[in-house]
């Protein structure tokens, strides 16, 4: 797939929908992973272009599930590439991210002065009360405790 069009090939759309169909309030992959999303994926990972092209160049199929089974059996590396393209295109879409409650990797600077809840709850007290658990090499065969 050397050139990305606005509309992904029909074969890709059918396979993408078989993997990620519309269900449980989520949209189908083919309605999300358009030409722009595919361009994003291939721009970030140019090495995915050839496997994607190889998949869509295969003879057209009647049943996408059968094609996915064939890929799994005969070309697992192509199937892995297809999985990554579909998933990366789908979950980089802002609407999909909103639906799954994922805001992205956001910036939350550490506030080192915050008093940790584990100290407040005394969770380390029991660890400390047990005393040392390291094994003292100078006391052969015995723990330091």
């Amino acid at each position: 797939m050397n050139e990305i069009s606005d509309e992904p090939p029909a074969a890709f759309a059918a396979l993408a929908d078989a993997l990620v169909p519309a269900a449980h309030g989520m949209p189908a992959a083919s309605t999300v992973v358009d030409g722009n999303r595919l361009a994003f994926v291939v721009q970030a990972r140019p090495d995915l272009a050839d496997p994607l092209a190889a998949i869509v160049a295969m003879p057209m199929f009647d049943d996408p599930a059968t094609r996915l089974d064939e890929l799994a059996a005969q070309h697992p590396e192509l199937l892995a590439a297809l999985h990554l393209v579909v998933v990366a295109g789908y979950y980089s879409d802002p609407h999909v991210r909103t639906l799954i409650g994922y805001p992205g990797q956001i910036v939350r600077p550490v506030s080192a002065l915050d008093y940790p809840a584990y100290l407040d709850e005394g969770l380390l007290d029991r660890v400390i009360e047990r005393g040392p658990i390291w094994r003292d090499p100078t006391a052969t065969g015995h723990d330091s405790a």
């Binding site: 990554l84 956001i106 390291w134 094994r135």
Partner: protein
């Protein structure tokens, strides 16, 4: 990734021989360079990778999970960049991981910073296996503490898993909702847990930024909060006169008729050969790159490779077999967020209890579980769901996981080794390393036991589902033991101060020198050992045989 095949020079171009040539600008190379340069010693370092600007890292970008699987993969075989060398790992149970560049593998490491424990240095005496180190935990403790200050370690003092000592210089990082859940569980179980020390800043330190908890530490830290020697050591080394040459791949170390190392041949990106003269040579190229280079440096005087009269160069490779136990929880933990160095650790089952059917033990580190692409693709344990229920699968995982990573002590075996490939080469035409590595029966029993206990931990924490990857193939971060230290030249490659027995002006300062692996992430120990070796070089500089 902005990969440059061009040679880059930081500092003044060397004019004449260096006092000390360092090969490799990663963790140990950076530590030694800074210490020597600050002592006024003329240092030149040759590094095959580039100096990366942290704006290159993708953690803040939409494509971070895509590029993490290729351009910023920790596997040199997957990245396959010109500065990487391929590793033939067909006969290895574990694939090695590393990074070529200034800062070395610290660029992509998680940042976990535990120390080895006192018993790790005495496994022969205590457990009757492997060998004791020629130094003790107490010998190394001052160097751990100095190194922690250089690195900027965040952690909480007083961990009863260790002997008393100086507290980390910075307060601990937050442990997150997942860490808190598991900490509560361990409190109920009466098991050890502690906030993990990390080489990640919880507050501004030494001109660097604090962590912003983006959770993408293993694709490079865009904030500069995670320590790597390109930030913590090289700027100071260069300011004190060190020269760092990047894009410089060393092909062999040369020796003279007196048995001294005279410098190293290196090749630039255009294929032009150079020779850097030096009065002493320090090899800091990791547990695979170092034996590879020593083996490539064979000569009439050293027919089996340089510094290899013991026959142990490349042997005793240890890589810490790694298992992963992930718990899935109903509660939203936002476990895509937070630092990727571990949040909490447990040494509950670290020390030997022979009733378990194996010796030694494993450290546990709790890690977050990544973003949506990671949740959607097949998991480490192989779980995948496509079709309508894919959406339920992703919703149940994204942000809902907590993962215990289990590093088991990997006992040395001379059959686990690095050799030179007869067929594979790097982009300069140099022989690639070939690995032969099998996980031992002791390690398998150990992992089985720890997997069971870690599952118990996560179940107690409330996990509704436990998934296990019993032996992760792409987990060979810790490359250790292939030029071990010892006092006997017939059974070790370097002495207790990291100097080669066979070549009195040659030093090996990376993880190759480890006698045994311990069961913890080793970078803290690598840096402490390198600092100790560098101190010794400075102290004995006037006794050091010189060439030029």
């Amino acid at each position: 990734m902005n990969v440059s095949a061009e040679v880059g020079v930081s500092g003044d171009r060397p004019d004449g021989p260096a006092d000390v040539l360092i090969i490799g600008a990663g963790a140990s190379g950076g530590v030694v360079a800074r210490r020597l340069a600050e002592a006024g010693i003329r240092v030149v370092c040759l590094e095959q990778g580039a100096w990366h600007d942290r704006t290159e890292y993708r953690g803040a970008e939409l494509d971070w999970e895509l590029t993490a699987r290729r351009q910023w993969s920790s596997s040199p075989n997957i990245r396959a960049l010109p500065e990487d060398y391929p590793v033939d790992d067909e006969r290895s149970d574990v694939s090695p991981l590393m990074f070529a560049g200034v800062g070395g593998s610290m660029i992509l490491f998680a940042g976990a910073w535990p120390r080895m424990l006192p018993s790790d240095f005495r496994v022969r005496s205590l457990d009757g296996v492997a060998d004791d180190w020629p130094l003790t935990y107490e010998d190394l403790r001052p160097y751990y503490e100095r190194s922690d200050r250089q690195i900027g370690v965040s952690g909480l003092g007083g961990d009863p898993a260790y002997p008393p000592g100086e507290d980390p210089p910075l307060p601990p990082l937050p442990i997150g909702a997942g860490g808190l859940r598991v900490a509560r569980a361990h409190s109920r179980l009466g098991w050890h847990w502690w906030p993990e020390p990390n080489a990640i800043l919880s507050a501004p330190y030494d001109g660097r930024n604090r962590c912003v908890q983006r959770g993408t530490c293993m694709q490079g830290c865009g904030e500069g909060a995670k320590a790597s020697t390109d930030l913590t050591h090289w700027p100071r080394a260069i300011a004190h006169g060190a020269t760092l040459i990047t894009g410089a791949r060393v092909s062999r170390i040369e020796t003279n008729s007196a048995g001294l190392a005279t410098g190293a041949h290196w090749i630039d990106g255009a294929g032009t050969e150079h020779f850097q003269r030096a009065n002493a040579v320090v090899v800091a190229a990791n547990g695979i790159g170092t034996p590879r280079l020593l083996l490539m440096s064979s000569s009439e005087a050293h027919p089996d490779g340089l510094a290899n009269s013991s026959g142990l160069v490349g042997r005793r490779l240890m890589m810490h077999p790694f298992a992963n136990v992930t718990g899935l929880f109903d509660e939203q933990l936002e476990s895509w967020q937070g630092h990727f160095g571990c949040s909490i650790e447990s040494f509950e089952f670290y020390e030997t209890d022979e009733r378990r059917g194996f010796v030694r033990g494993a450290k546990w580190g709790l890690a977050p579980t990544g973003g949506p692409v990671n949740a959607a693709l097949p998991s480490r344990a192989g779980a995948q769901v496509w079709g309508a229920d894919h959406h339920l699968h992703v919703r149940s995982r994204l942000g809902h996981g907590a993962s215990w990573g289990l590093f088991g002590e990997d006992l040395p075996d001379e059959e686990n080794r690095v050799t030179l490939s007869a067929t594979a080469t790097d982009s300069s035409g140099l022989a690639a390393p070939e690995l032969q590595y099998s996980v031992s029966e002791n390690s398998r029993r150990m992992l089985d036991f720890h997997i069971e206990k870690a599952s118990e931990s996560l179940t107690e924490a409330g996990a509704h589902t436990i998934e296990v990857d019993r032996l992760m193939r792409y987990s060979g971060w810790h490359l250790l033991g292939t030029a071990r230290m010892g006092t006997d030249p017939t059974t070790s490659v370097v002495d207790e101060w990291n100097r080669a027995h066979d070549v009195p002006n040659l030093f090996v300062v990376d993880g190759s020198c480890f006698v045994t692996s311990g069961g913890v992430n080793p970078t803290s120990t690598i840096c402490a050992l390198a600092l100790r070796a560098a101190d010794r070089m400075v102290e004995r500089r006037h006794d050091q045989p010189v060439v030029w």
